[in-house]
Amino acid sequence: MSSLQVSSCRQVVDLVTEYLEGGLPPDERPAFERHVAICPPCRGYLSQMRRVQQVAGRLSEEDVPERLRASLLEAFRDWKTTKR
């Protein structure tokens, strides 16, 4: 089987992370891009995978549970006192 063929959409779906990670071998990358360029559903799929990453990048704004936070700050004050 030639490695230069990315002939099915199912293959694109399997390779998409390797592609986005820059991990596709140099001879497979053009075949992947060629398939995606002529295949609207695969382009849609690729756009969805990119947007998943984009939404994920906005998940980091989470709060620390209040009690834990308060107790950590108290530990910090103790540490500061004993340090001096």
């Binding site: 099915s8 199912r10 559903p41 530990a75």
Partner: protein
């Protein structure tokens, strides 16, 4: 299925069964689409560390050493949620996760004077966290590998969306349309509700998938950093990331469809 008698028939037949009939392996590739893809492909990789970041980090360490409480609060706020999310991957029971986090920060404070900027603060912090988590989880801790159990969880892909590999003509092609999200406005996809939906889906992932996904895509760690922290090979790291993203895409697709169609 018999062969179509002429190219015109083939096209007609194809349009009927296969909604995106433009897929033709011999079609001309639009050079603009190809160029755009090639640019984006690289942009999709891990976010790089800015040089100012290194400078900021050394100021942060100085502030912590001086006993600046605001600096401490800021790193606690920044990194604690990730630790809480990661604890389960080391086999720490949910009810012990906060203890492990507390222990981590105490050790950080005690070791602060010995911190040398050979590694980043984050790498150092999470190495301490990993030690705390592992010792808490004890002897029955699991190593982070792609196990047979993960295999049993399946690829996360709905195979019914593809023609079977035996299909005489459309083997492995999509049976349905896939919406492009390029045009879904940010304010909709990044709205609180969409993020809440994704967050729930992350919680539902197997621990290892969630750990790799959170570090890579939520926190922006590099693949190398994740491999070191979770003791993974590059290959396994990518497999876990792929499976996580595949599942989360499906979850988000379900949400987008229910909202915007």
């Amino acid at each position: 299925m018999g062969q179509a008698s002429s190219p015109t028939d083939a096209t007609a037949a194809r349009s009927a069964i296969f909604p995106h009939a433009e897929v033709d392996p011999h079609a001309e590739v639009d050079p603009r689409i190809l160029a755009a893809l090639q640019c984006e492909g690289v942009a999709g990789r891990a976010r790089a560390v800015h040089p100012e970041h290194v400078e900021l980090e050394s100021r942060l360490i100085d502030a912590l050493r001086r006993g600046d409480e605001q600096a401490f609060a800021s790193v606690v706020d920044r990194f604690t949620p990730t630790m809480l999310r990661l604890a389960r991957v080391y086999g720490v029971p949910a009810e012990a996760a906060e203890d492990v986090v507390q222990e981590t920060w105490l050790r950080v404070l005690r070791s602060l004077d010995r911190f040398e900027s050979r590694s980043s603060f984050r790498t150092w912090l999470f190495a301490i966290f990993a030690n705390c988590a592992r010792s808490r989880a004890g002897a029955d801790r699991r190593s982070v590998t792609v196990s047979t159990l993960d295999e049993a969880a399946g690829s996360g892909i709905d195979e019914s969306r593809f023609f079977s590999p035996q299909h005489p003509r459309w083997a492995g092609m999509w049976t349905t349309l896939v919406d492009s999200w390029e045009t879904v406005p940010d304010e909709r996809l990044l709205a609180d509700e969409a993020r809440a939906h994704l967050r729930i889906a992350v919680e539902a992932l197997p621990a290892r998938y969630a750990a790799v996904f959170v570090l890579r895509d939520v926190e922006g760690w590099s693949a190398d950093e994740v491999c070191v922290l979770l003791d993974l090979s590059q290959e396994n790291q990518r497999v876990l990331l792929h499976r996580a993203r595949t599942r989360l895409r499906a979850a988000l697709e379900e949400y987008v469809r229910s909202q915007f169609t």
